[in-house]
């Protein structure tokens, strides 16, 4: 589904990703872990098409297509969803109008008729229940005045509405209390299907108590330095990132 090869990317002229390789297959949940500043959010930005992350080398293919040639809105319509680390507040744009525009754009892309107002509200109700989001949130402006937890739940709600093929959740768990964390994780688990995938970017192992990944990667200094099964997450939790850090730094010393 997603094949990243030798990806180099910089932000404001500073190289952050330094030759990253990653492959995600349908039906898989990947966790990408790593210390702060290792390039986790830059990776999410590159996949979603945020301009501030500039790709200098390497390829990103999504179902065989060059993802880097696609506009952010095209990527979304083709099934990529980014759950933001810091969801943006947009005063004056109502959640209903926002989601209706987004959902109907996706439908048009698939050759479907737009949903009627009543069908749309019905869909919203269903998904709200599914992700256990407070129904009052849907009557407000996008993220405006939402608490940190509400914003993250709202990301999961949007994901439920758009049913992506590939969801990238960028530290969706950070700053969440246990209750919100559970809601976020449940959302991801309920939306799981054999043909879709998720990449969960996280600093902590905590979220992985609720979401069981098929593959765990460690991102360090712009590269994937370890890839293993879910046991890697426990090891990291136990030993901390220092262990990886010293190991990787030693290795590069021998080169």
């Amino acid at each position: 589904m997603l094949v990243i090869k030798n990806l180099h990317a910089s932000i404001n002229g500073k190289e952050i990703l330094k030759g990253l390789d990653l492959e995600v297959k349908p039906g898989e949940i990947h966790a990408i872990m790593g210390p702060n500043g290792s390039g986790k959010s830059t990776l999410a930005a590159v996949i979603a098409g945020r301009e501030l992350a500039r790709v200098t080398e390497g390829t990103v293919e999504y179902f065989g297509r060059n993802l880097l040639d696609m506009l952010p809105e095209e990527r979304s319509k083709e099934g990529i969803f980014l759950g933001f680390q810091y969801p943006i507040e947009i005063p004056g744009v109502s959640m209903v109008n926002f989601l209706k525009t987004a959902v109907n754009t996706h439908r048009r892309h698939k050759g479907l008729d737009p949903l009627s107002a009543s069908d749309f509200l019905k869909l919203m109700r269903e998904k709200k229940e599914m992700v256990e989001i407070d129904s009052k949130l849907a009557n407000r402006s996008v993220n405006e005045g939402f608490s940190g937890g509400e914003k993250k739940k709202n990301e999961i709600f949007q994901m439920a509405m758009l049913e992506p093929t590939l969801a990238i959740l960028d530290e969706t768990d950070s700053g969440l209390d246990i209750d919100a964390l559970r809601v976020v994780a449940n959302g991801v688990n309920k939306l799981k299907r054999p043909d879709n995938s998720a990449v969960v970017i996280t600093h902590y192992q905590r979220l992985l108590d609720y979401i069981v990944p098929d593959v765990v990667h460690v991102l360090y200094d712009g590269r994937i330095v370890r890839t293993a099964g879910k046991e890697l997450a426990f090891e990291l939790e136990e030993k901390g990132y220092e262990w990886i850090r010293s190991e990787v730094d030693n290795q590069s010393g021998y080169e």
């Binding site: 952010p72 004056g92 744009v93």
Partner: protein, 452 residues
């Protein structure tokens, strides 16, 4: 004086040449203002950019044009006005029409609405309501420094008169449709007087339209008296074509515990200059001055606001927002004056602008003069682009860039539109603004009136 336009004399000559015609159609009382006003105009002239109040608006290029002056109503135009049937979708109003600044020659020049409010021609009212005219006419338009107000006082002879007697609440808004229509390029002036006596309430909607594609220049003055405990709303919807220049001066005088709101919604127009004066002339009065301007191509929109706190414990708000595209320019000058005795004043001001191109320009200037010490004042201005993070957020959900930009611009403008208290009008304005932002309202369109 060196801060007047070189074309000023042309317009004082116009008065001298037509003195007889102008005076013949007005009462002695209205005429009694003219000579002094033209003298003041001769001194002040048409403001040039050296004048502090007009620093960002070059009137020369509009006043230099050889306009035919429209000093008396013609028959043909009256017929046109009569044909102009306005029916507002779901907005129930008492409608009035001004054609080139004159009340058309209809049978009923002054009429009483069921609630007891009088509406109609100012010229007619100056005869039938001479006591009210004496009490209020020329009392509030007292901008000493603006020659154009004096030019209007010297030359205007008709306009709209609205009289709301004490203790009268008008539930339906009054809608004034200003039409400009001619086969020639014309300069026209009119004068409105709105009297709201104490414990009363009224909402007035003014729509500015152009009906033929000639060059037009309008210089209008509106005086408003808002009595004690009264409530007054004025909403101006400006939708004229690119060859039209509209200069309006609105003076709102408020008494104790009154509330007044003004909302200038500029959708379209070549040159638009709105001067809005709020005089808080009694304790506990509240004034709101709102505005929204959407301009593109070579359009220019200038809002000058002057709020004067003359008494203690009054509140004022200013909120103006604009979206400027192409080479359009805008100006906002918000003056707040707090007199020495106006303790406990609350005065707020905000002006936010979005420039869609590198060539669009916005000049914004707060002007606070505070002589009292127990005062809470704030002001803020921003000029910027659409927020990139918000844009990306919307696009990351599949919404096309153009649609996302529209949503953000619409959200930006909606803050002003939601201040409109008349729900059907608010909805209509939302639609019109959306159309305008999409570029579908490229010419003077049907505003909120649907004309059959």
């Amino acid at each position: 004086m060196n801060n007047k336009s070189e074309f000023s004399e042309r317009y004082s000559d116009l008065y001298t040449e037509n003195r007889h015609l102008i005076q013949s159609s007005s009462t002695d009382y209205i005429n009694s203002f003219r000579e002094e006003a033209i003298e003041r105009y001769r001194i002040l002239g048409i403001p040039s950019r050296k004048s502090e109040m007009y620093r960002y608006t070059n009137l020369d290029i509009f006043f230099r044009h050889d306009f035919k002056s429209y000093l008396a109503p013609g028959d043909e135009e009256s017929i046109k006005a009569e044909e102009f049937r306005c029916d507002v979708a779901s907005l129930d109003t008492h409608g009035l029409v001004l054609m080139n600044g004159f009340y058309p020659d209809l049978k009923n020049k002054l009429r009483q609405l069921p609630e007891g409010v009088w509406v109609g021609s100012l010229k007619e009212a100056s005869v039938r309501f001479s006591d009210k005219i004496r009490e209020h006419y020329g009392k509030y338009a007292k901008s000493e420094s603006d020659g154009l107000v004096h030019l209007n006082t010297a030359m205007a002879s008709d306009g709209i008169f609205v009289y709301v007697p004490e203790g009268t609440l008008l539930t339906k808004p009054v809608q004034i449709v200003n039409l400009v229509y001619s086969d020639e390029d014309i300069f026209n002036q009119h004068r409105n007087l709105i009297i709201v006596e104490k414990n009363s309430g009224i909402a007035i909607i003014i729509c500015d339209h152009t009906l033929s594609p000639r060059k037009f220049l309008t210089n209008a003055v509106t005086e408003v008296y808002v009595g004690e405990n009264s409530h007054f709303d004025i909403i101006r919807v400006q939708n004229e074509h690119n060859n039209a220049s509209k200069i309006s001066h609105t003076f709102i005088h408020q008494e104790k515990s009154s509330q007044a709101s003004s909302n200038n919604l500029t959708l379209h127009g070549g040159l638009v200059r709105n001067s809005t004066y709020h005089f808080l002339g009694g304790e506990g009065a509240e004034s709101n001055s709102y505005g929204l301007y959407l301009a593109d191509k070579f359009q220019h929109v200038d809002n000058y606001i002057n709020v004067e706190h003359a008494f203690p414990h009054c509140t004022s708000n200013q909120l103006f927002k604009g979206v400027l595209d192409d080479m359009a320019t805008g100006a906002f000058n918000g003056r707040i004056y707090v007199a020495k005795d106006a303790q406990g004043t609350l005065a707020y001001q905000r002006n936010n602008n979005i420039l869609l191109t590198d060539d669009a320009k916005m000049y914004t200037k707060p002007q606070l003069e505070i002589y009292a010490d127990d005062v809470k004042c704030s002001h803020g201005a921003t000029v910027g682009q659409l927020d990139n993070d918000s844009l990306f957020y919307l696009r990351s959900r599949g919404i096309d860039k153009r649609e996302a930009m529209l949503m953000l611009m619409f959200a930006f403008t909606h803050e002003v539109i939601q201040k409109i208290n008349i729900e059907p009008l608010r909805e209509r304005m939302d639609n019109l603004v959306m159309q305008r932002l999409k570029g579908e309202l490229s010419r003077c369109a049907s505003c909120m009136v649907q004309c059959g």
